[in-house]
Amino acid sequence: MQDELNTPPAKLHIDGVSKSFTSKRGKVLALESATLTVDEGEFVCLVGPSGCGKSTLLNLVAGFEAPDTGSVMMDGKRVTGPGSERMVMFQEHALFPWLDVLGNVMFGLKLKPGLTDKERVEVAQYYLKLVGLERVMRASIHELSGGMRQRVALARALAPNPRVLLMDEPFAALDAMTREQLYADIQRINEARQRTVLFVTHNVREAVCLGNRVILFSPNPGRIREQFVVDLPRPRDINDPALAGLAGEITRSLKGHTRVQSAE
């Protein structure tokens, strides 16, 4: 079990990746030659208005889609499809209603070879404890609040010990109070179990609160514009003035890019 919990996080290389989709109004360039390197254990937030390609980039790293040009590499190996070493956490919790809380966390673990069933249950319990839900292991999903569901989804994503965690606006549907609690939880959990994380959001403050680095995207076509290194001390509080200051700076920069775009 110790080994299972200790495989190291991975390094991501995204190199010149473009992706277009065909819609009714013709071809849309969702992402244009994006290049990004994410270090082992780094928490990188992707920020931008809708249609800027941040979710597209996440889907490419997840392997749900293949890039038109360029490549996505994890530790030097090309990503060709979805896999449990790159776990995705969605905006909707995407938990399975026919399984209870423990069953959901066990789903990915059961697909991992080299563990006994007893060990799998132990791992699942460890992560449920980490997200503070060990007491509702046997509850059904519909009995949980929105925040609790996202916690279960987080435990489910962490349990098989992915080398990269991909989070697609996981807190967007939650109320502000629940979100703030989850920011604290995420930081605490990442301290304990450092993963390489790509975190998509349109909330700049959220990005500054969680990320080591914030990558700014602009739309039409989706491009990486700028990046900001966040070296505020942890744990960070979303209401901290220094954090708000940096977020303000990023927001101004974001507005600048959007304005330039609409003038073009």
Partner: protein
């Protein structure tokens, strides 16, 4: 307990009203005998075993046909939901045949299989198959795609996804389809039994038929009551546990 007494009072009053209508002569006992006469027939028929053996014959036919119908309909429904070609061909056929009352198969079944158990079985299968197929197809088609994406990202694929994600996720549809299939099977078997006399065993439908021939409306009414009771019991035994599970897990009203 309170609910039980309310139900009990309801049915007791129904029987009382029935009794009074016959007793006062508003209803002629020739058209519908009173509950006393019907009860008397039921007592006799239970004692001589004719009612029980007819019920048993009918239930055996029903279960066999229903099981086969489900076993064929389930995989076919999965396939039509996943393949456009199959949906355009088999799916359309299923939709058409589902609207056909399955008693319409009886004439053909008699020609193909003779007056045999196979003919009965065929009619029941035709009653079950299409509605099971269509609900499974519906269930799989209406799955939120995020379930399969979540499964993929956790390393599930192919048959594992089918068995552990697609099937359980479409369960609310599958259960309601199987329930509908059961109702159709039950109806088609009754129609077939009233229509065709088989020497291999008399079912409840035959008792109804003979009751009509003999003008014995007490027999007809008693058999109808038995049919309703079997239907109710089947619902409780076959479907209630599943519906309770759906209710507990999904939070649906089953």
């Amino acid at each position: 307990m309170k609910r039980f007494f309310i139900a009990l009072t309801f049915f007791a009053s129904l029987i009382l009203i029935w009794h009074l209508l016959v007793k006062t002569g508003i209803w002629s006992p020739v058209l519908l005998p009173g509950p006393g006469a019907v009860g008397e027939y039921m007592g006799v028929a239970l004692q001589d075993g004719s009612l029980l053996s007819a019920s048993w014959v009918t239930i055996k036919r029903l279960l066999a046909g229903y099981l086969i119908g489900c076993l064929i309909g389930l995989p076919l429904g999965l396939m039509t939901a996943r393949s456009q070609t199959l949906n355009d061909t088999l799916g359309v056929l299923a939709l058409g045949l589902q609207t056909l009352p399955s008693v319409c198969w009886v004439p053909l079944a008699l020609i193909w299989f003779g007056q045999s158990e196979s003919a009965m079985l065929f009619v029941v299968i035709m009653g079950t198959l299409w509605s099971v197929l269509i609900s499974v197809d519906n269930g799989v088609r209406n799955l939120p795609p995020i379930y399969t994406r979540a499964a993929l990202t956790m390393g599930s694929s192919g048959f594992h996804t089918l068995r552990h994600v697609i099937l359980p996720a479409s369960m609310p549809y599958v259960i309601s389809g199987m329930k509908q299939g059961w109702a159709f099977a039950w109806r088609s078997l009754m129609a077939a039994e009233i229509y065709v006399t088989l020497l291999t065993g008399y079912g409840l439908g035959h008792l109804l038929h003979f009751g009509r021939e003999l003008n014995a409306m007490d027999q007809v009414a008693a058999v109808m009551i038995v049919i309703v009771v079997i239907g109710l019991l089947a619902d409780k035994v076959l479907f209630s546990p599943w519906e309770r599970f759906l209710h507990r897990r999904w939070g649906l009203n089953g």
